[in-house]
Amino acid sequence: MDERPEASLVADARRGGREAFAELVRRHERRVRGIALRLAGNAADADDLAQEVFLTAWKAVGSFRSGSSFYTWLYRIAVNTSLSFLKRKGRERNRAPFDENRNAAVPGSDAAPGPEDRSALNELTARIDEAIAALPAHFRASFALVVDQGLSHADAARVLGCSENTVSWRMHKARKLLQARIKPFLEEARR
C-alpha cells in the first residue's frame, strides 16, 4: 500500500484528525526519541520527553504553517523540549566542565573499570557515548541532528534556528573535543 504523503497527514492533523496524527507519530517517533536520548543522556528521561514532544506538537499543530517542513518543526520542538528539561533539572549547571586534557581511560589500564570481555567495538561505542554526553548541550544538539539523524547542515540550522556556519563550527568543535577526549583509547586500539 502506498504511503500517504506527509503534507496530507499534516493537513488532516491540523483539522483535528487523530488518526493522521498517530501516523505522523509512527513516522517520527524513533527520531524524536533519538534526539531526546542524545540530549537527556538516559532512556527513562528520553521516553518522557518524547511523549511531551508529541503532546506539545498535538496542541500546536493547528498553528503549524503548511509552507514549512513538518519534521523541521517537530525536531525543533524535540530539541527545545529537551534543552528546557536540562535547564529545569540543572544538569547543565552541575555537569563537570568539559576538559580536553582529561582523557578517557585506556582499555586494559588500571583506570578502566569496564568488563574484560567487552568487545573493542562496544568499548569504543561506550567511550564515544560518554564523551558525547559530556559535550555542551548545544554541541550535543547539533551532533544529534547531523550525525545521529543524518540532517544536512542547512536542515539542522533550520531546526536549531541558527546559521549553517554555526552548525558547521559546532560540529568541528564537538569532533575536536571528542577526538581529544578519546585519543588515548583510539591510539591503543590502533596498535
Binding site: 487523530r18 496524527f21 498517530a22 507519530v25 509512527r26 517517533e29 524513533r30 526519541r33 533519538g34 536520548l37 542524545r38 532512556a43 521516553d47 518524547a50 511523549q51 508529541f54 503532546l55 498535538w58 496542541k59 567495538l121 569504543l124 561505542t125 564515544i128 558525547i132 547531523v146 550525525v147 545521529d148 544536512s152 547542515h153 549553517e164 558547521s168 563550527w169 560540529m171 568541528h172 569532533r175 575536536k176 571528542l178 577526538q179 578519546i182 585519543k183 583510539l186 586500539a189
Partner: protein
Amino acid sequence: MRCQTARKRVSDELDGALPSGRGVRLEAHLRTCRACRVYREDLERIQAGTGLAEAPAGFWTAFERELEARLSAEEAGRKRVEVPFAAGRRWAWAAGAALVLAGVSLWLALPRPGPAMIEEAWVAADDILDPIVRAVESDPELAGRIDRELQASIEEMSPVADPLFWESLSDDELRAVVTAMEKESGLGGPQ
C-alpha cells in the same frame, strides 16, 4: 592550508557539506600532513562508533498506547474547558441571552427628547417668564428695587465687603494686589 583549516574541512567532509573544490585542496594537504591524516582516521572511527541504542522489543507499541491515552485525556480536558454550549450550561447561556435581549429592547423603547420636545420646553418657559418681565417693565419702582437687590448681592460677593478678606491674604498676595492697584491708579511710578 593550515592544519586548523584542514581539520574544520575534514569535519565538513564527514557531514557531506564540503564543496568539491575545497575537497581537492584538502586532499592535497592530507597527502603531506600525517597528523591531519591521523585526525581524519580518528574522526571516521568516532563516526562509525556513534550510534544510539535501539529501544527494546515492544517498546513502540507501549509508547504509542500511552501517547494515545494522554492525547485522549488532553482532548477531554480541552472539551470541558472550551465547549461553551455543553449540556449543563445551555440554560445559563439561554437565560443570559434573553436578559441581554430584554435590556436592548427596553433601551430602544425609551422615549428620547426629540427636536419637537425641546421646542415645546422653550415655549413653556417663555410662557412663565413673559408675564413677570412685562410686570417689571411696567412698574419703574419694582424695577428699581430689583436693581438694588441685584447690586447688593454683587457687593456681598466682592472681597471689599468681607472685612476678613484682606487678613486671609499672605504678604506676597497683598503686595501683588497693591502693585496692581497702583498700576491701575497710575500711582505706581515707572515699572
